[in-house]
Subunit: 282 residues, 2 copies
């Protein structure tokens, strides 16, 4: 939260939390928030018109993220969760500047857990090309623990394989084996799932990595950090929203129907609809 | 070209041709144009900030295509080639309306060839989800030949596999086998490669389909149709551009360096640079 100019007076306890991602992957983060702080209202935005972010540049990802933050602020959100590793890696510093609303990303919480749990000091990070190129996991982990070596590996085919539904499949096994072999060979004991899609192939990753490697899911850690932060700021919602109050609202930049189908397969909540927004106008 | 209000007086023989695609795939079309009409100047635009188009909606793909056409027209192009099947399927009709510059897509030329070459009247089309959903290949083929049955198959993993460089690889073989088995089972004799990335895995597709199926590459057919159209309009360039005159210029919406590397692997021309454009401003 460094660099932010949070104005606590402007923030309301019963305001919603804004959550955004390049597409559907951030729903794994939303799912954890729903589990850990079930009374909160949440506005989710998925940038399905411009997905994926993981192969794009810092300038582009930052411009897109700024538009989305402007959109979420129209709901007077009390905090914003950047539920996308690439956007957290590339845009968080810029988004935090001059923001009067607290903004948290998914990278720092995952990095913190990995720095704490490693025993042999060898940590692997699997993520998109952009997140790996940014070096951000290494930077955050080293701030907390200097006695570690971090091995980053970009896994560009995992997102398309997940989006194609090949969660447990020989092809996903084979591609995982190729990506992960070098991390196994250098004997890592901790692996950060540094892209919000990856928890959806957790069982494949577990099979390839074996039982002795700790898999860190930043979605879980982020929801925990969010809860702590809201508690500290006395912003945690203490009563459940009334029935019919639209506790969870979903917005996308394209293909709302397809999003709803995918979302229901991830968060098992019964999402009835998502609205389409022309995000370039923000 | 129906619906267009072409103003021949405004078009100059020595003006460039505009070519655009969602990313790098359209370079397979540009390559054919360079081969068939080597004296032409070409401005290529790849929408690398918003790639891929194949999973997006008609509204979104049309809005993006309109922005790109406005950008290309700033170069006083004499014609525009929509070198992307998804954009041709979803946006061509809209782009043609009121356009004073001729616009041609890649779908109609490929459909025409398939309608002509099939012997048993069973034609397969492989393409993105969007192109298949649009039903456009079926529509065009049936206009030319009523005695055919057309089988469409979306192949969403082909683009990521090509972009990852797995052009000849057991994983690409396995995915191809899954996608193509039903087309083999129904005994097609003609297969349209309905996405500009697919000619790059032609040898894999040939291996899976066998020697008796004709593979139709719309890139080749489009370049041929373009040459015919320019000849009819007396717009074919008759002298080669001077050395150092920037015969081929490349613009992208993101990651120019990465584009240049990929482009050089496809068109073997020696592309030195590509410029980045903020396409949302057009």
């Amino acid at each position: 939260m460094k660099g932010m100019k949070i104005n606590r007076e402007l923030l309301q306890k019963d305001a919603p939390i804004g959550v955004f991602d390049s597409g559907v992957g951030g729903l794994t983060v939303m799912r954890e928030i729903m589990r850990q702080i079930p009374k909160e209202k949440i506005i989710y935005f998925g940038d399905t018109a411009r997905v994926p972010y993981g192969s794009k540049s810092q300038d582009t990802v930052t411009r897109y993220s700024e538009q989305i933050v402007r959109f979420l602020k129209t709901f007077q959100v009390k905090t914003i969760v950047v539920a996308c590793n690439t956007a957290s890696a590339y845009a968080l510093d810029t988004l935090e500047q001059d923001s009067e609303v607290p903004i948290i990303g998914v990278v720092r919480p995952g990095a913190k857990t990995a720095a704490e749990v490693t025993a042999n000091g060898r940590i692997g990070v699997i993520a998109t090309e952009a997140t790996i190129d940014s070096g951000i996991y290494s930077k955050y982990i080293r701030e907390l623990n200097q006695n570690v070596t971090i091995y980053g590996k970009a896994c560009p085919l995992f997102v398309p394989l997940v989006e194609e539904g090949l969660l447990e499949d020989p092809v996903t096994d084979e591609i995982s084996r190729r990506y992960l072999t070098e991390l196994i060979d250098i004997n890592i004991d901790t692996l950060i799932l540094g892209c919000t899609h990856y928890p959806l192939i957790r069982s494949t990753l577990r099979k390839i990595m074996g039982q002795n490697v700790t898999l860190v899911n930043p979605a879980y850690e982020t929801a925990r950090e969010l809860k702590e932060m809201l508690t500290e700021l006395n912003l945690l919602q203490d009563t459940s929203p009334e029935l019919g109050s639209n506790q969870y609202q979903f917005y996308v930049s394209d293909k709302a129907d397809k999003f709803v189908r995918f979302a229901n397969s991830i968060i098992k909540y019964g999402i009835l609809s998502a609205k389409t927004v022309n995000i370039e106008e923000y």
